[in-house]
Symmetry: C2
DNA sequence: GCGAGATGCTTCAAGCTTGCATTGTTCCGG
DNA sequence: CCGGAACAATGCAAGCTTGAAGCATCTCGC
């Protein structure tokens, strides 16, 4: 039953190589799957945060984007500053502020020192609505499942993940 | 210099109450600020994940949403299943699949056992493009800043945050 | 001064996403 | 069997988001 001296040796080696490749592929598959799952969790939480905002916003006659803008308007801002705080493009800020203005919640004034820029100021109605919104948002948190030390840990992990561009 | 027996006592108490309220407000403010920062980080990472996908997708003539759909199409799926994997509404899946179909990457077949449903199947072109996409996505990760144990920690935190609905 | 490039805002086209209504099909209790 | 509830997919309206193009204004180096 001992095989001829040359051929099987060859075959054994080939099988070993094949084996290794299969195992490597499977390991990579596993890594990819885990990565996708993790990304899914991140997106899921982001979506929940958005839903939470929208939920409280609709009760006040606002969309989520409008509420996000209103939330940032604690003092006079330029369009660009608002876009920065909302983490979106300036053109998007234009779109959202258009609606807020049409609803009489915010006013576009000429900027005192830069004639290119606009100064966004809340109207009395806007100020009142903003306070109601902040009260609602402070009342319950989309991160209620996490304790203080867990939030800190999460923050550090997220910062590290975002650090490498 | 000793104050009259009644009035200052009153005043001291009032000041103490006022003081406490101010401190409480400030503490709540701080909590709200920290929460917003954390939400910002979550959204930031989600956005980076999306950008990463878009980046590799555009090189293949796909949008991010199309790439996300293609990525999930490893075997025959119904519209509903695809929407589930993409974490979006079925009507959105319809929209995205419309484009994929128009580009000849996917085919809508009648479902073998349920005449309400459709079965999505990749065309040869779709299969090839999907493989190229997966190769690109496996090559670099949007979570490159995190090591294995950190990913595990992040996963656990996110799961816990999402657990409480 | 002044002209070139940078900056602030807006508009537009294209695509994404959601919620709701509609249509066709299946499933189940009577 | 059959009528109604549940379900799959789609059409549609409204809103969100981005990227590129365009106009007004500012700023800096000469």
């Amino acid at each position: 039953m001992t095989p001829p001296p040359d051929v099987p040796d060859e075959r054994v080696r080939a099988e070993r190589v094949q084996d290794e490749r299969v195992r490597a592929e499977r390991a990579q598959d596993e890594r990819v799957r885990a990565e996708r799952a993790l990304c899914g969790l991140v997106n899921g939480l982001a979506q929940r945060i958005g839903d939470h905002l929208r939920e409280h916003a609709t009760g006040l006659g606002l969309t989520a984007a409008q509420a996000a803008a209103l939330r940032e308007l604690n003092g006079p801002l330029t369009m660009r500053e608002l876009a920065g705080r909302m983490c979106c493009e300036p053109s998007n800020a234009t779109f959202v502020v258009d609606r807020l203005e049409r609803q009489g919640l915010v006013e576009r004034r000429p900027h005192p020192t830069d004639r290119r820029a606009r100064q966004l100021v809340l109207t009395p109605a806007g100020t009142g609505l903003r306070e109601r919104l902040l009260a609602l948002l402070a009342a319950d948190s989309p991160l209620a499942g996490l304790g203080p030390e867990q939030r800190l840990a999460l923050q550090e992990l997220l910062e590290q993940a975002l650090a490498r561009p």
